[in-house]
Amino acid sequence: MNECNIFKSFLNSDTTWREVERLSEEAPEMFHKTGLSLDLQENDYDEASFQDVIASSSCYSYKLFLPKSKKHRGLLIAFEMYRPVSHSSWEHSNSALITCAYTPAYKDLWSLQMVLADENGYPADDYTRDNCYLYPDVPELVVWGEKNNTTERPKVPLDETDWFFSIPLSTISNRQAFFEKIVLPCSSLLKGTEPASALAVSNAVRFNEWSKK
């Protein structure tokens, strides 16, 4: 039988998008195990044309309810499959990423564009770079707000502010991996666990400090 890399590439693409769809449907059940209630709202698909290549990404938005709270919070699960890379030394420049982005008010949910990474490990979106910073000593966590100095933490707990973290998609090899690398860290952050501990076993990617850019 002929081996065709074009065929294989599209087969990989098709298989991957089908798994994305299945994961998006099964995610609420897995979050439910930690006491978080998720309700799938909509999905978004983006193809950004840049330098003659197509970068593909998609996201699913959920209404999120914390235990004993009726407030409509939001969670965005985003899949960034590809980005144009020319010359980059960032470890994850050639990795597909899955991103977990939280907001305390569903109406202000992150958009897909806002949580994508560029080839150098910075948020690709100007608005995100202008309005977010890296949590002190935890470069895996991007937090909404203005940083006054390098050691200052957010003035409110993490269930009251917006943040996101990303994991290499290839490490999500089964449901258990999704639970350990996305669901548990997300739940721990919302329960007030120190971000360094919450993200310790998640293999979350380390973003680069963009104020030095």
Partner: protein
């Protein structure tokens, strides 16, 4: 499929080209394809399948016990519950009723309400389930009872005692039970049911894996302008 063929007049499954093949019949056919085999297994084997499907939702008293007998009834006759007008009783037909008997503990009745592609309001599904709970309570007053809503995409029934399962969960469990470590009837059920649900496009998330592929290079000659 045997029960659906005999009791419901089903002649086809997963086939939408024929007018007489209604959604209702599809649902019955699929229920029978997946659950009829449990009727022919030993009680311990059928129990292993059911126990794995229910997971942590199974009552803890039963999790470590082994049944000595079981009965699998699809669309059982003779059950009644209060009619919609509230004044009289009418026929009530759950899709599936399982009874497991144990030596040292009350028997367990598990009632299943199946939905395939029907778009049904959650409160309508809940109404059916409440009637089934009532009918089963009357028929088996001394048994412990569980009720399961097995659907494709319906919103979860948030009512105490109702276990929500999706057909994709059944696929996942069937896939797990294919393993060599299980007894032959369980393994065969896992193999056949997971294959069937894949054909029915009810596949659970199994992780991100990619085939190795080299970077594709294209060399086109640029056309002169």
């Amino acid at each position: 499929m045997l029960h659906a063929f005999n009791q419901k007049g089903v002649r086809r499954v997963l086939c939408n080209r024929h007018e007489e093949h209604t959604n209702n019949k599809n649902e019955d056919a699929i229920t029978s394809m997946v659950f009829s085999p449990l009727a022919f297994m030993r009680a311990v084997d059928a129990w292993l399948v059911v126990k794995t499907l229910l997971g942590p939702d199974l009552l803890s008293d039963y999790a470590t016990r082994h049944p000595n007998a079981h009965e699998i009834q699809l669309w059982p006759n003779g059950l009644k519950a209060q009619a919609r007008n509230g004044d009289s009783t009418s026929r009530c037909e759950p899709d599936l009723v399982m009874q497991f008997q144990f030596d040292d503990i009350r028997s367990l009745i598990i009632t299943w309400e199946m939905k395939w592609t029907w778009i049904m309001a959650t409160n309508e599904l809940l109404y059916e389930i409440v009637r089934e709970q009532e009918a089963i309570k009357k028929a088996y007053p001394r048994s412990r009872r569980l009720i399961v809503a097995l659907t494709q995409t319906a919103g979860p029934i948030k009512r105490a005692g109702v276990i929500n399962i999706r057909w994709t969960d059944v696929h996942r469990i069937a896939h797990q039970l294919k393993s060599e470590t299980f007894a032959t009837p369980v393994r065969e059920w896992g193999k056949q049911v997971s294959t069937f649900l894949e054909k029915a496009k009810q596949i659970s998330f199994s992780g991100f894996h990619t085939l190795s592929v080299e970077k594709i290079k294209f060399q086109f000659t640029e056309q002169p302008k």
